[in-house]
């Protein structure tokens, strides 16, 4: 089945790190819940979190009372309304310089005039964008001179910067070179370069159709059976889900990170920063900023060695103030593909525990990384076993190939069932004013597969098949580079894991690959292994050799 062009650009658009820059927004100021320190520890833990009638002013309170007759709110209810704090601009992010997620398209100075005229924006770097913030002066301030009755409403709205990755997708589409290669794509491709719908997924869909599945609303927290299966899949058969895991269905990984971020900003306090690895999936930063969290980075990848900067990572996690949130990629780190070893995970978890940090795991590749879904869950399962409080964002986009159906979960491991119920209630109150309840098609598919032993077995094999093909491509690429005559150490390609390889090529090399060889990738040297296949491997290897010969692939 050929990839339709619309799908191509979509899949690239959505896996972009380097895309349209957000990070600046004007939200209403949060009334902070000032939390008294927990008596038992050094950490500023919330002792009593009451979502109050932080509701603004006396007028609002009267308003609220008169709104009571809406009847949707009983006298016992309080309107639980959350405000989000001012989102810091990118300048507030401590170690944002040298962000590897550089955009592919050149920066244009015309960007600045964005807010004054109606010109189209071109992509800019993080820094430029941060200085050109949207102020209320530029928008929607209705002077008496404006005809804002009908024509003036939107006229000052600037164009948002276009997605850099989409630019690459468009360029690939437009390219007529017969050997063009797309190694930017963030969705699995088979050996013919086609999207792959897992056979068990098709079977599940067929079954749902045969069963005349209804289309009713799911509960706010999602399909309970699906969530239960997903939790067993993540935490293992032995985990006591009922009593210790508060879990909700989410809109895939993005939605889960967003829910987790909202939850932490409201209940852990936005004065606790979230630390993300450097580099990380570009959307992480935007998601958490939009939730109102301070985003900082910890060292992660060492470009001089094309390997994990383990010492730097530990140092930064240690330096973070107690009770910070540490974002960890459960496996198959995106974009580097570089994961800690199990021994290293143990040290990381131990450190997190000693600092009373919260570990927020993003698990987007369980089963897809090594081919073994138990193994790919080891990091966060270990953290759970060590009583580290964790949040887990789970995506079924890659491992079940359900990208566009937006299936995932957010779970929070807690001490007992009472806590669980409370957390569930808070999560519901976050979800309801966001989208009411999640979409049911994808979760029904996953549930159908995981609840049927035969389908489940088949599924494990199909997922392993994808992982195995990727591993093969890694090995073949390394070999092909050697055959092409490259004398660089490319072992990181086979050491890395998951969908992406962080080659170490710099921006100039990447550009040359595109311009001379019509090989399309992001300028940070990240290549998507799924874009490689037996037909294009040699071509790509030769091209990479050509652009890297005589140069260095370490920073």
């Amino acid at each position: 089945m050929a990839t339709t062009t619309e799908n191509l650009s979509s899949s690239i658009e959505n896996n972009s790190d380097e895309d349209d820059e957000g990070g600046r927004a004007a939200f209403a100021a949060q009334k902070k819940h000032k939390m008294s320190p927990h008596s038992a520890g050094t950490v500023d833990r919330p002792s009593s979190i009451r979502r109050s009638s932080l509701l603004l002013s006396p007028e609002w309170d009267m308003e609220r009372k008169s709104l009571r007759h809406l009847g949707d709110l009983d006298d016992d209810d309080q309107i639980r309304i959350a405000y989000f704090p001012n989102i810091p601009t990118i300048q507030d992010v401590a170690t944002n310089e040298g962000d590897d997620d550089a955009p592919a398209v050149d920066v244009s100075a015309a960007r600045r005039s964005l807010f004054k005229t109606k010109t189209h924006a071109t992509v800019t770097s993080d820094d430029e964008w941060s200085t050109a913030s949207v102020t209320s002066d530029s928008l929607s301030d209705f002077d008496d001179d404006d005809d804002h009755t009908v024509t003036g409403i939107w006229q000052n709205v600037p164009e948002a910067p276009p997605d850099a990755i989409l630019g690459i997708a468009a360029a690939y589409k437009a390219c007529e070179h017969p050997q063009k290669v797309n190694i930017c794509v963030g969705a699995y491709r088979d050996d013919n370069g086609n999207p792959y719908v897992l056979p068990t997924v098709r079977k599940a869909e067929y079954r749902l159709l045969e069963q005349n599945e209804v289309k009713e609303y799911l509960p706010i927290e999602g399909d309970r059976d699906f969530v239960y299966c997903a939790m067993k899949f993540a935490y293992g058969r032995e985990m006591d889900i009922e009593n210790h895991v508060a879990a909700v269905q989410s809109l895939s990984g993005t939605g889960a990170c967003m829910l987790g971020g909202q939850f932490l900003a409201q209940f852990w306090g936005s004065d606790h920063p979230i630390y993300v690895p450097n580099p990380t999936w570009g959307n992480h930063i935007k998601i958490f900023k939009q939730c109102g969290l301070k985003v900082r980075k910890y060292r992660y990848y060492d470009r001089s060695k094309n390997a994990l900067d383990f010492e730097g990572m530990l140092k930064d996690i240690k330096r973070a103030k107690d009770g910070s949130i540490i974002l960890l990629h459960a496996c198959a780190h995106n974009p580097t593909g570089c994961d800690p070893t199990m021994e290293q995970w143990k040290e990381i978890v131990s450190l997190i525990s000693s600092k009373s940090h919260i570990a927020f795991f993003d698990s987007a590749y369980q089963g897809f990384a090594t081919g073994n879904s138990e193994k790919d869950a080891q990091a966060f399962r270990y953290a759970v076993s060590q009583h580290v409080p964790i949040l887990l964002a789970q995506s079924f986009a890659k491992n079940f190939g359900l990208y566009g159906e937006r299936v995932g979960t957010l779970s929070i491991v807690c001490g007992d069932v009472v806590q669980k119920e409370r957390i569930m209630s808070e999560l519901r109150s976050i979800i309801r004013p966001l989208y009411s309840s999640p979409p049911r098609h994808g979760s029904s598919i996953v549930k159908t597969i995981l609840m049927d032993p035969a389908l489940k077995e088949e599924y494990y094999q199909e997922c392993a098949k994808m992982a195995i093909r990727i591993k093969k491509m890694r090995k073949k690429l390394e070999e092909a580079l050697q055959v092409a005559g490259s004398i660089h150490d490319w072992s990181h390609i086979t050491k890395q894991i998951g969908m992406f390889a962080y080659t170490g090529m710099d921006e100039a090399m990447c550009k040359q690959l595109t311009e001379e060889f019509s090989i399309f990738l992001t300028t940070n040297g990240r290549i998507s292994m799924v874009g490689l296949n037996n037909s294009n491997l040699t071509y790509v290897a030769n091209a990479i050799h050509t652009v890297t010969a005589g140069k260095t692939i370490t920073a």
Binding site: V134, W154, C414, S429, L434, S437
Partner: protein, 433 residues
């Protein structure tokens, strides 16, 4: 069943490895209650509408009835999947489509069809290509994106009718907008409070957002007449307000989607640059698919596209891109004339049944001996009847008769059937006499 491409030995290795890596996490080894960072949490209140289901489910009275959530039921009280939807699903299965990500704004084809459905293909701004939008997570999702967008762009308040759908308030407040209301319904007379509504609208400051229900006002079911809409349009124009429509029942209210879109189309014709959120939950019966659209009419094409680009900025860090299945179903139907006609017939069928139930309920109330004026039940339109019952009466109805509706006395007519209408009428009469 073993796939030929994976040898048995590889599989054996994998299952051995799996066993090796299985971690036993027993309950006794998870964190203790007090060491958890969540130990001091309090319970958030249950959503009153959705929470009703939970209370209802716990009741084991055999004749219990729920007329709470706005989801259509057939005359046997069963959920109803439109036959055209089933057919569309079958067509999609046969096409063997992939599951790739869609764009942040969703499928362009879907958005195009959705907008034409509500604005009308012959609408001038549509012809001039200055109406653009995004696929949204049904009504709620569209409202939230809109709220976030407007808060981001300098708006501080939004004016909503009193009463309005309960979820409007937390949606907009969480977006960062302060929710203010204008008078809408007069509970005394069970009628639109038009005079006071116009007074309040005239007091709304210039440039403010004003939300209106396109048709089938939720919860009251009272809509302005076309003359009244006209007056609202003129006043809103004079006041320089920013009109925003919540359109959740197009086709489902009167049975005619064109008629149900008249208010919106009038505003557009009058030159307003409206924005709108559409839901396909009720009219297409696609509740759980979360399918809707958020759109804006721009002064020109470029302007509308710019606003859409800003919508995408809100969406990307929220959920990246929307789910496909619902959009594909709607597209399959609306791009095919015969399926579209089927849809129109089936949607009308739902509206007709509801209107029949309204008449029946009013008759049964009279039969039960009620001397109260229940005209509003047949005057109102859409899924809900704003009965006029107060909270105490509602609670008594729950406890004594096991009839469940929301505390504001809002009855979901979709839940009324020829089988339970007598029972409901008697219950209402009993608590209100």
């Amino acid at each position: 069943m073993i796939l030929p491409s994976i040898s048995r030995s590889v599989l054996r290795q994998h299952s051995k490895a799996a066993a090796r890596y299985a971690t036993n996490i027993h309950a006794s080894r998870t964190m203790s209650t007090s060491s958890s960072p969540w130990s001091q949490f309090e319970m958030a209140p249950t959503d009153p509408i959705v929470g009703l289901n939970e209370i209802y489910n716990k009741d084991d009275f055999p004749s219990k009835v729920i007329v709470g959530v706005g989801a259509y039921r057939d005359d046997l009280g069963k959920p109803y999947v439109l036959p055209c939807v089933r057919e569309a699903e079958q067509i999609l299965m046969d096409k063997n489509l992939d599951m790739e990500y869609t764009g942040i704004a969703g499928e362009p084809k879907f958005v195009d069809l959705a907008l034409k459905f509500v604005y009308g293909e012959d609408s001038v701004p549509i012809q001039e290509n200055r109406v653009h939008g995004v696929q949204a997570l049904s009504g709620t999702g569209g409202l939230r994106v809109f709220g976030e967008l407007m808060a981001k762009h300098g708006h501080k308040h939004i004016y909503v009718p009193n009463p309005t759908w309960g979820n409007h308030i937390p949606i907009f407040t969480n977006s960062g907008l302060e929710v203010r209301k204008y008078r809408y319904y007069d509970a005394e007379s069970s009628d639109l409070d038009f005079t006071n509504m116009m007074k309040d609208i005239k007091d709304i400051p210039k440039g403010s957002l004003i939300l209106m229900h396109a048709c089938a006002h939720n919860p009251t079911g009272m809509d302005p007449t076309m003359e009244q809409w006209k007056e609202m349009s003129e006043t809103i124009k004079k006041q320089g307000l920013v009109p925003f429509f919540d359109c959740a029942y197009q086709g489902f209210a009167s049975g005619d989607p064109v008629k149900d879109a008249s208010s919106v189309r009038m505003f557009v014709e009058d030159g307003h640059l409206i924005s709108m959120v559409q839901s396909f939950s009720k009219n297409f019966g696609l509740y759980g698919q979360r399918i809707g659209a958020l759109s804006v009419v721009g002064a020109d094409e470029d302007e509308a596209k710019r606003v859409v680009s800003q919508m995408k900025m809100v969406i990307r860090p929220m959920y990246s891109n929307p789910p496909r299945q619902g959009a594909r179903i709607v597209t399959t139907i609306l791009e095919d004339p015969r399926l579209t006609q089927d849809f129109l017939d089936q949607c009308r069928g739902m509206a007709d049944r509801i209107n029949l139930m309204r008449t029946l309920l009013q008759d049964k109330l009279a039969e039960a001996g009620s001397t109260k004026n229940w005209d509003h039940i047949t005057k109102q339109i859409g899924m809900f009847a704003y009965s006029g019952l107060n909270k105490d009466q509602v609670m008594e109805m729950r406890e004594k008769h096991h009839v469940y509706c929301t505390a504001d006395g809002r009855i979901s007519m979709a839940g009324v059937t020829s089988g339970n209408v007598d029972y409901i009428a008697n219950a209402i009469h009993d608590v209100s006499k």
